[in-house]
Amino acid sequence: MAPVSKSTPHASMLRRYWPLAALCAILTVLVGVGSLIGSDQLQVTLTEMLIRLIVVVGIYTFIGNAGILSFGHIGFMCVGAYAAAWATVDPTWKQMMLTGLPDFLQQNQYGFLPAVAGAAVLAGLVALVIGAAIMRLSGIAGSIATFALLAIVNSVYSNWESVTAATSSIIGVPAVVGPWVAWMFAIGALVLAYVFQVSRFGLMLRASRDDEVAAKSSGVNVVRMRLIAFVVSAMIVGVAGALYAHFLGILTADTFYLSMTFVTLAMLVVGGVGSLFGAVAGVIVVTVIVEVLRHIEAGVPLGGITIQIPQGSQEIGLGIAMALILIFRPAGLTRGNEIAFPFGRAARRKRKAAAS
């Protein structure tokens, strides 16, 4: 990864974790500035963006390292969201509506953090069981299998009356997630994703992504590496689901289906599938585009006149913007690169070359 040079262990540590540190710094500045100057609307937007960021980072942990496009991860978001809501919703309501819940959930009310932990565990378990079966599949067959997983989760959660309240939503989930809570978990997700990616497991998995046969013949157990990544990424996405439930305060299974899948995948591909920086950049850029279009749709006063685009053109504008980004940067905005280390010898040489 980073060029080998004679330097102190601290410097090489810094170099190794520089991309992570830079991303965390960007996020912190963003949230700091946003919550200092921001209106209530901005706080909401910021929180939602951070939760999406956790989802996309989670999805990236699997797709970026394993190289298999997954449509199934929003299913884990659904699993996590419901798991957390089962824990934190008022017991009297649960006894009335969710009669199929096990006693320890039906009778008690748990705090936010145990609920989030439960969400991570349940999402990870589902990923472990299903992943053990489908991680053998590569390429498009693997993608469709993950899509089948999404469809199964959606079908179960939107019809299992006694456990998920089916079409009538779960209400009264405590809405405790604001920008700073979401920020904390986002940093956690970034750290986990990056540490995994530069770990032995991550490197072996990336080797299998680039050449499955070569990796196998070098002794990499591809299926097991994929499964590990699948479970880790499902846990991250499950946590995001729990946060989303405690951000919205109300839960329906259809929130976690096709459109959420498309939006998050689009964010990842627009940013660049191959790097953590790509995941973060995609989320930020797409969110900014959506917000700008929403403002113009509401009308922007400019000089004496108000500039306004017709209703519904926000979505169309987003679609066109995404298509344009893909046409001009087919490998994503970051082209799969992490943020480069700006102080090393390589960077100095590059600057010199640019100057001359």
Binding site: L69, A133, I134, R136, L137, S138, I140, A141, I144, A145, F147, A148, L149, A151, I152, N154, S155, V156, N159, W160, V213, L258, F262, L265, A266, V269, V270, V273, P310, Q311, G312, S313, E315, I316, L318, G319, I320, M322, A323, L326, I327, P330, A331, G332
Partner: protein
């Protein structure tokens, strides 16, 4: 027994729709490696092209009132034009892009079309009455089969036969098959790439129109996302059938139709709401046992 035959007829007619949609998806995948999510929206456009643009709940047929010999070509033309425009504007600049990028680009196309429909026609589902004469049943002994199902199956078989003839007997068809086998080699040998891809988009537009007309006369309702579930089942069908194989797409389409209808008919009452969960479990099982599909193609077996 009668019950089973009745279900079989249902399965064949639903399978026909999936097979037609899967052919449209499979054709593009074979040549371009494009998993075209916008195919479902081509189907929606075919249905919306029939009616007067308005926000009314009851759709007023416009092209839909024309004689069928005029109406079918008109609708087909509209869908084919949309398919060709999306190729020219989005997919042509992305010829060298990898599969995920192409797929997300097709999301973008799909998103634009869906919201375009939303802007012009409104979000609410609309009722539309197309070819209501086809509701009349045909009696075969005790078996009552709606004429529409017979028409659906007949049209599907006819289109498949035509497509086969086109691919096997005409020079353009041979070019398309060559391009699907090895696109770059076909280009070296004088096949014009953009022309063949345009042709594939046009044919997939024609197939989408057939699906939208048949589907609309079955359901009688229009919605901005009406084509999406059809396209999703079509993807599943192309993959379990064998990506890149048109025969596989057809087999997969009928298989998915069969699975869905039989689960609907024979699952115990209280499990029936979970029909889709069972259907997709079958899909995973099929993939686990035949990862390259029921009809694997040589072009997709990875060589080392």
């Amino acid at each position: 027994m009668i019950g089973f035959l009745q279900n079989l007829a249902d399965a064949l007619s639903l399978g026909s729709l999936y097979a037609l949609a899967a052919l449209g998806v499979g054709l593009l995948f074979g040549i371009l490696r494009l998993v075209n999510f916008a195919h479902g929206d081509f189907i929606s456009i075919g249905a919306y092209a029939l009616i007067v643009p308005s926000f009314e709940v009851t759709a007023q047929l416009f092209i839909g009132t024309w004689n069928w010999s005029l109406m079918i070509p008109a609708v087909t033309l509209i869908v084919v034009i949309v398919a060709l425009i999306s190729d020219a504007l989005v997919f042509r600049p992305l010829r060298r892009a990898n599969a995920p990028t192409l797929m997300i680009a097709s999301f973008a196309v799909s998103y634009v079309i869906q919201n375009g429909i939303l802007m012009v026609y409104g979000a609410r589902p609309k009722a539309a009455n197309l070819w209501s004469g086809l509701d009349a049943p045909i009696l075969l002994g005790d078996l009552r089969i709606p004429l529409l199902q017979v028409v659906t199956i007949g049209v599907t078989l006819a289109l498949m036969a035509l497509l086969t003839l086109f691919l096997k007997r005409t020079p353009y068809g041979v070019m398309m098959r060559a391009a699907a086998e090895d696109f770059r080699m076909a280009q070296y040998l004088g096949v014009r790439g953009n022309f063949v891809i345009g042709l594939a988009f046009a044919i997939s537009g024609i197939l989408a129109t057939a699906v939208s007309l048949l589907y609309l006369s079955q359901t009688g309702t229009l919605g901005p996302t009406m084509g999406v579930p059809l396209a999703l089942f079509a993807f599943v069908a192309t993959v379990i059938g064998g990506m890149g194989s048109l025969l596989g797409a057809v087999v997969g389409g009928f298989l998915v139709g069969f699975i869905v209808i039989m689960l609907q008919a024979y699952l115990p009452e209280d499990l029936r709401v979970f029909r889709d969960a069972f259907a997709f479990t079958f899909v995973i099982l099929i993939l686990l046992f035949r990862p390259s599909g029921i009809v694997p193609t040589r072009a997709f077996i990875e060589r080392v």
